[in-house]
């Protein structure tokens, strides 16, 4: 109790030192670099911006990046839910192994993932050759981009839904069953609605990661202009051509749309939580 009162009067030692160092480091390493990009971007004229986004190559690249990222995040939310549900609710051989493997895309360097995915899904790869027999190209195609983005986003979906499933109130399911609902009705009306906020968070995180992904995509994508060039790659090639303005224009649009997406989905989540009266 006296300690509690003391915190209100005094502070633990180290406030100036730790906060000072934190602010210094954050300013130097994070704030100044971001400010540099924003300032550079604000100096780009409207004509230059239009010039950059008028080109069919940039438009094709943005369509691919946003389209593949949205699709990958959707697929990941669906399969992420199935995986999270199986890992929490069922017991089966290899469960622990699979549980720890989920984080592999977090832990693996993106360039390593990139060449590994290429080795498997290339026309000569162990999976790619079977798809090729059906006439489906799993590498050097938009599908390849999608595969890499699914790989990179999967852990976000599983790891956000897993704790939500663990914390589900089983009493609600029992009450629903005792009122005569079938298992499927209970799942649809009771269980699923309370998992929507977590699913949305997982979707958003997977989407944000996919929009900015570079290393794991560029190998399997093949980087064909107009077909399989993602936005991050376009930024890199603009830099290689010494076109800093073009690179900044694309970068700022990508960064801004990522943040708008994050905020929108956070807004939806806030609205759902308020509506259902939980916090």
């Amino acid at each position: 109790m006296s300690a509690m009162r003391a915190t209100q009067i005094r502070r633990l030692p180290g406030f100036g030192l730790t906060l000072g160092f934190t602010l210094f480091y954050v300013t130097l390493m994070i704030v100044i670099p971001i400010a540099a990009l924003l300032l550079k971007a604000s100096s780009i004229s409207m004509e230059e911006l239009v010039e950059t986004f008028k080109t069919p190559r940039v438009q094709a690249s943005l369509r691919l990046t946003f389209g593949a990222s949205l699709l990958a995040a959707t697929i990941n939310t669906f399969f992420g839910f199935i995986a999270a549900w199986s890992l929490v609710r069922y017991r089966f051989v290899g469960r622990r192994l699979i549980d720890s493997l989920i984080d592999l895309p977090f832990a693996m360097p993106t360039a390593v993932s990139g060449i590994a995915l290429m080795a498997i899904y290339a026309p000569t790869g162990i999976v790619g050759k079977h798809f090729l027999a059906w006439g489906i190209k799993t590498a050097i195609s938009p599908l390849g981009v999608l595969i890499a983005l699914i790989f990179i986003g999967f852990p976000f979906a599983v790891r956000t839904m897993q704790p939500a499933i663990e914390e589900l109130e089983l009493e609600a399911e029992q009450a629903s069953a005792s009122l005569g609902a079938s298992r499927f009705q209970t799942f649809l009306r009771v269980t699923l609605p309370s998992l929507i906020p977590a699913a949305l968070t997982g979707f958003t995180l997977a989407l944000a990661r996919a929009l900015g992904e570079y290393g794991s995509v560029i190998f399997i994508a093949g980087n064909l202009p107009m077909r399989t060039e993602i936005a991050s790659l376009l930024i890199v090639s603009r830099l290689d051509e010494n076109d800093i303005v073009g690179a900044c224009a694309i970068a700022v649009v990508m960064l801004a749309s990522t943040f708008v997406l994050l905020l929108t989905i956070q807004g939806i989540q806030w609205w759902i939580e308020r509506k259902t009266g939980r916090n």
């Binding site: 480091y25 954050v26 720890s100 080795a119 209970t186 970068a251």
Partner: protein, 286 residues
């Protein structure tokens, strides 16, 4: 183990649904996680141990390993000290703008690595804010080793802080206050009270930071000149070898980084089981 038996009839899915969902999970994980991991080691050792050894003893490969270790050795201690300071400042005190500060610390996670590299070029490139001044002092940052180090730091800033902040938030400051009131100095309090309490999450944060620092590709590739034997890190060298159609050598280097990520995963499940064990013990005591 006990959870299944605790599930009441109402929460238990029919067996056939269980089989289908487990099957989908195992299939998905095999296709997207197990196969990519396996193929790295398969490709690395397919041509025999000798090819593997030659690939690793190559001069450019050794230089890439050296540069990666150097960048990691600079980046990890800095971000560890930062993580400790940031976690201490944001969990032991309240001050205006605290949640804004925590959000800013998390920002590098939301920024594409390629865009991070671009930011550094805008700052330290020849036409950048500090580029000309540094150049006149004879220090080249972009397309040189300092740029590689700075890019590595940027993408890994949040790792240690992120692991520590929630843990220290939960622990509160009572133990530190007790130590201080018993006459311990600030440094003693930190090393004897705080540090032992946060040791496991600190270790895990450092491990994640190390793995990412050694494996960063996008940000580093933008600020590095990609000169072999000079400014290439392991991932950049992998990229260069792969583009040369020297896949066995690329996979040999990749297998080192893949081993590191397996160690990270193992350490994570070990730490989690340890933390779970601890909380169970404290439940039993209560």
């Amino acid at each position: 183990m006990s959870r299944d038996s605790r599930l009441s009839q109402a929460s238990r899915d029919p067996k056939w649904i269980q089989w289908i969902l487990i099957g989908i999970t195992v299939g998905f994980v095999t296709l997207f996680l197990i196969l990519p991991l396996g193929v790295i080691f398969w490709e690395a050792f397919r041509k025999g141990l000798k090819t593997f050894a030659i690939a690793l003893s190559d001069r450019n490969a050794r230089s890439a390993i050296g540069l990666t270790l150097l960048a990691t050795a600079i980046c990890v201690p800095l971000n560890m000290v930062f993580g400790l300071a940031a976690a201490w400042a944001t969990t032991k005190y309240s001050f205006p703008g605290k949640s804004l500060l925590i959000s800013i610390i998390d920002l590098p996670f939301a920024i594409s690595p390629v865009i991070a590299g671009l930011m550094l070029i805008l700052l330290y490139g020849i036409h950048g804010w500090f580029g000309a001044a540094l150049q006149s002092m004879g220090l080249q940052v972009i397309f040189a080793v300092p740029g590689v180090v700075l890019a590595t730091i940027f993408v890994t800033v949040p790792f240690v802080a992120r692991e520590l902040i929630p843990v220290m938030q939960e622990q509160g400051s009572e133990q530190e206050w007790a130590a201080i009131s018993l006459g311990a100095s600030a440094w003693q309090t930190f090393t004897k009270v705080t540090l032992p309490n946060i040791f496991l999450p600190l270790l895990y944060g450092v491990l994640l930071c190390t793995a990412r620092a050694m494996g960063e590709f996008g940000a580093v590739s933008v600020v590095s000149s990609n000169i072999r034997g000079l400014t290439n890190t392991i991932p950049l060298q992998i990229d260069a070898l792969y583009n040369d159609y020297n896949a066995p050598a690329a996979f040999a280097l990749a297998s080192i980084l893949a081993t590191l990520s397996i160690i990270t995963l193992l350490a994570k499940s070990w730490l989690e089981s340890k933390i779970e064990h601890r909380s169970k013990e404290s439940e039993e005591i209560q």
